[in-house]
């Protein structure tokens, strides 16, 4: 829980981190959008600022005047309740507002937020809204990192960049985690964590069979065995949609793997480096994670198994061991669906998570790109199964 006296500090700490991520960028790197999933960095910087302007300052701070009449149009996201939006595919066509203009927008909003936070009588609703805004910005911080990586990693010059994360780190080996058959509780609990998104609410019981989850993530070396065994050429391991995806896109390895004269290389923020076999595999789709698991004769965990294996074993006496998570977002085989009793909140902020509950899979954990403090065992991340520009990895059921 955020102590009230540090509220303004908290705000500025998060806001500053967005800019820290971008500090190594050239102006041009802020502008482009190579694929529809990736947003231009300046859009992330503007959009997160728009959130504060639109949801906090305009409704709550009478003295506030919007920075620019067109910015709500340019930096809107999916929030269909707040006016006409820029089509997502068009973001990469916009040279204006300039990067300098976006930083000016940030400074203007930050200054007014500072004034506002210093004077406001923070009601519980406003408190919740600000906490949501901070978490929203943290989500975009992870996207900033992954989108910048995509932009540079698809440039023919493959440039390196200073980035405040360590992508490539080996993991110490850990024992597996065993879950005994029985009833478990799933979802956000106010006793454990303070903040949560709406999709974690509705704590409820599930019945789990006995399961053992691997203590370790699948490594590049493990995954290379799948590649070398012809895994990408054999339809037997693949879901029907996954097999179509492999063939349509001529997929032969994880994203950012390049085979040069027989050797495998990885694009990273340090530039092109040899694949380190001991490091957890990264940038795989759920189709690849699922096919890999089938090839090994096993399966991905469900999001419920994962959550139970991740909580403190002191809490659940029927669980032996505890997952060591946080290096990679871990694909589960659970569809992203509402928990019992899920209700979409009223108003624009309420559009937040519910409407994406279709054709996406849940990822659990966090990654090396996740901002500090923005993770917990009940967090439900979600993407379509073909997406792999996030720091996604694989953990198997044993």
């Amino acid at each position: 829980m955020i102590a009230e006296q540090t509220f303004t500090e908290q705000y500025f700490r998060v806001r500053k981190h967005s800019e820290t991520i971008c500090r190594g960028l050239e102006t041009e790197d802020y502008v482009v959008q190579p694929i529809v999933d990736v947003s231009p960095p300046k859009w992330h910087l503007g959009h997160t600022t728009w959130f504060w302007e639109t949801f906090v300052l305009i409704p709550n701070y009478p003295a506030y005047r919007p920075f620019h009449e067109d910015f709500s149009y340019v930096f809107n996201s999916y929030y269909e309740t707040v006016g006409k939006r820029v089509l997502r595919t068009d973001r990469g066509n916009l040279s204006r507002p300039t990067v300098a203009g976006v930083y000016a927008y940030r400074a203007y909003v930050d200054e007014h937020m500072s004034r506002f936070l210093n004077t406001a009588d923070v009601s519980p609703d406003l408190y919740a809204l600000i906490e949501l805004g901070l978490n929203h910005e943290q989500q975009h911080q992870e996207l900033l990192i992954t989108d910048i990586k995509y932009i540079l990693g698809h440039n023919p010059l493959l440039p390196a960049l200073k980035m405040p994360i360590i992508e490539h780190q080996r993991q110490a080996s850990r024992p597996p985690v065993s879950i005994r058959e029985g009833i478990y509780s799933i979802g956000y609990s106010p006793i454990v964590d303070s903040f949560h998104f709406d999709n974690e609410l509705g704590r409820h019981k599930v019945y789990l069979n006995e399961t053992v989850l691997s203590g370790n993530l699948v490594t590049n070396g493990d995954y290379l065995e799948f590649i070398e065994a012809g895994g990408y050429q054999n339809f037997r391991y693949w879901l029907s949609d996954g097999w179509a995806w492999v063939n349509t896109n001529a997929i032969q390895a994880p994203l950012y793997w390049y085979q040069i004269d027989g050797d495998w290389w990885n694009y990273t923020f340090d530039g092109l480096i040899p694949v380190d076999l001991a490091v957890p595999v990264c940038h795989v789709s759920q189709y690849e994670a699922d096919a890999y698991a089938r090839w090994r004769g096993t399966r991905l965990p469900t999001e419920f198994e994962w959550e139970i294996a991740a909580v403190d074993s002191a809490v659940e006496s029927t669980v032996a061991g505890q997952l060591n998570w946080g290096a990679r977002w871990e694909w589960t085989n659970s569809a992203y669906l509402p928990y019992p009793g899920f209700i979409t909140a009223e108003g624009a902020v309420g559009e937040y998570n519910g409407k994406f509950m279709s054709a996406q899979l849940v990822l659990r954990g966090a990654s090396v790109a996740t901002p500090e403090g923005h993770s917990r065992p009940t967090y439900r991340n979600f993407f379509q199964p073909d997406k792999r520009w996030q720091y996604t990895g694989i953990r198997l059921v044993e």
Copy 2:
């Protein structure tokens, strides 16, 4: 369970029903494929025959000679283990083999199946294979009906056709079904049913919250209120993917509804008739079912709630009432995913169901087009959420 003495009878009863469905067709109706989801009727007749030839006769009946060397190529489906297949989109381009040729193929295979069944020593494995073949053909019988309806219902002449089903029937009102909170068992049980598909296996426990399911399907009259309240124009009720689908395809009503001079009409096998408000709504997508439920302030059931509500209440004492199902396939809000312990069978027949476990939703029950004997409470039908050419309907949680 099929009594052994009636095995040949059983075979011929199912085989004959496929042809009965087609008895009103003109030769030309057998040939076309207006959309990729719909297969030409002659393809269904050939493909089901190919199943018997490929999986039963060729491996088990040494005297058998294939009818035509190219038919395994033409009538293959998704079975990637059995050679190169005709691309699904191409089926509607094939004028040959002719309809008469397909019926000759059926007669040839039927004759050899008859000889074989009369002489074979039916092992349990063979027995299971034949039972699978019969159920496979029954699945295609339902598709035959829905595909023929699509072909005729998208012809400018909107022709009527004699079809052995009653599409339009009002349902007597029924009380709701209540499920008490607790642990329930889900999946195929040999005590209740004999046949099952692989995706029903892995009977396992789930924990359900207290739930009440409506005793009645949503009617055309109920649904018309949603249309008239502007349901198709308000993004608030829709999943993000659903809203894109509505707008891209300019959807304004269920499939086969036509508004003529202000009145709503339905295309049916009897031709164009006025919408009967008392009949259960039909031909809706899961997006529409979900949006309708949200508009009513409630939700669709999960497949587990549905299954428990459908079983005999004598079996589950914590369930009050029993669903009256079978008129419409009922969309659930459950993604089509494997049950615990699901294993894909070896070999071509094993490709059967598992590989579609991606981006599809479960439908439960059966419809007016489902062949007699081809339904049970544990049956898991599945389609992508935008599909609506099946006899799909809506039941709400109260």
Copy 3:
């Protein structure tokens, strides 16, 4: 010119030929549309009939009642002035009207045309309209042949069919045709031919440089040298659009050529036969014709050079020799554009040719599939440069 006493005979001779072309078809062959350029044979039979009904009978024969109210919708073509049309891509989805229904439509219209022609006082305008109708039907006769070939030639069974044309015939060698530099007249001349389409009108002078046209069409043997020299793999010979077409569609040989165990085969109405090197090459696109010419270090003729080389050398004393044409439609390097003074006729019939004067190339001559009497040196056929399902061939400038 058509002698008046044989008017009815003429009508029935042309009408009968359309049906003669189809006499070997199975009902199913009439229905399908494998690509958008190809129309189902029953559509051709219906559309040509619709022409007589719409433009001759309804406006001129008061006693006439249309055969079916929806047929004008189903069998309309591009004539945007005559009501809403079936989208061209949808033709292959229509199982109804049936083939028998289309033949009944033909019989009904023929009977009324017979009555009408026997009683009508044929004005010059009506005479011209009927002559246009006969030529229109002849154009569709050639399309019937090429569309049927496409349907069967893309069926995995590659069926043979009895067809009243001889596709594969060697040509006797002929001397080249020389044109002396100077002024020539181009376009329809009433002295030479009776009938013409609107696009041939506007006889006008052009200035030609000295040119020599080959007396022979390029043969399969000639063309095979281009293939074996790597012509399809070298961008230097190709127009930019042509090179894109080759690569997008993986083109490696003319249409209907199949390489089996190193040997080249042709699909023809006699089924699959070995490529005869002495026969004129057929089913090539203008891109291929142009690339072949460049590879040979020469070019295709213009439509003006072709026309002058084709007319009787008695007429043009500055031309030595005369083209022997009629086996293949000969691609020119002339864009299909209006002659000086071209005027689009008023009314629906006037939509005839002018509006296609964009992005198409002129072909001159006729082919083995062209009906007798439907060719003349001033005839301007036209297709987009990537089309090759017509009987198209190549003649070079020497």
Copy 4:
């Protein structure tokens, strides 16, 4: 003709003009590519530099070392002989090389060109190559202007920009130009102009009918009458391809016209201004030009008529008057095809113009965006008929 003593001056004058065009741009404006036809300004600056490096310095100046090994890949255009190229659609995804990097590349190449030109013994071939390079860069200068206009004119902020052209200028009224029937010579003549592209070569005779070309370009006021008469809603005026283009793209006015509260506005480099009825219409496609002409009951000129009407009437005594051209590229109804005797030059530079001779129309004249000295009556510009981001206009035959 370029005087030899001013050769280096000439080079630097042209090179400087490319940078002058860009002087008002923000860094971000250099990067984006909103549609495939438009290239990012930094790409134009790099590509024109690459031309000098690749075709002049590397083969002719032994002391030269390429600026960066990857730049030939990044800044290549269509020249398929010079290695693998960046797919055209990908240009807008490249944040690197940066704008500063591109300017450094220009400075580096310019410095070496200066050294080289000061020391080289300029052979006629080299002279021709440098002249080609200057004209090549001038072509890209016009594209720079039109691409920048597209980028800013499709930005929601519709920013103004300082640009060294005057877009909006009224034209004094001029008498028509009459051409008497007869033989005329077409194509580049060394007597009149020094430089030419390959597609102007092959001076040859054509026979023209008597024609009168309007002395004035069609104005916004003229064109508005077409809009208000429902020209965009009536298929009768349109080519078939044009009508499809209008409907697919919902075209209702020239590019950069916006209707706001009933009034028409133009986006220009001065921002949004009211449509000036007296100014020549601009940014129309050939489809629109052709439809407008038909609606007026006339036609567009051919490129031959235009060329004869544009040359000095002192030269052609059978021409009365002389065109006043240069404000707009004038669409003709001539397909872009080779002149008699056209030969594609050997080597990469030879790919220049010939391979685009397919499905494009000729434009004649020049526009307000054409660099000084880069126009002549025999110049053949060409674009597909749907393109309209160039400064295109309409002149009618009277």
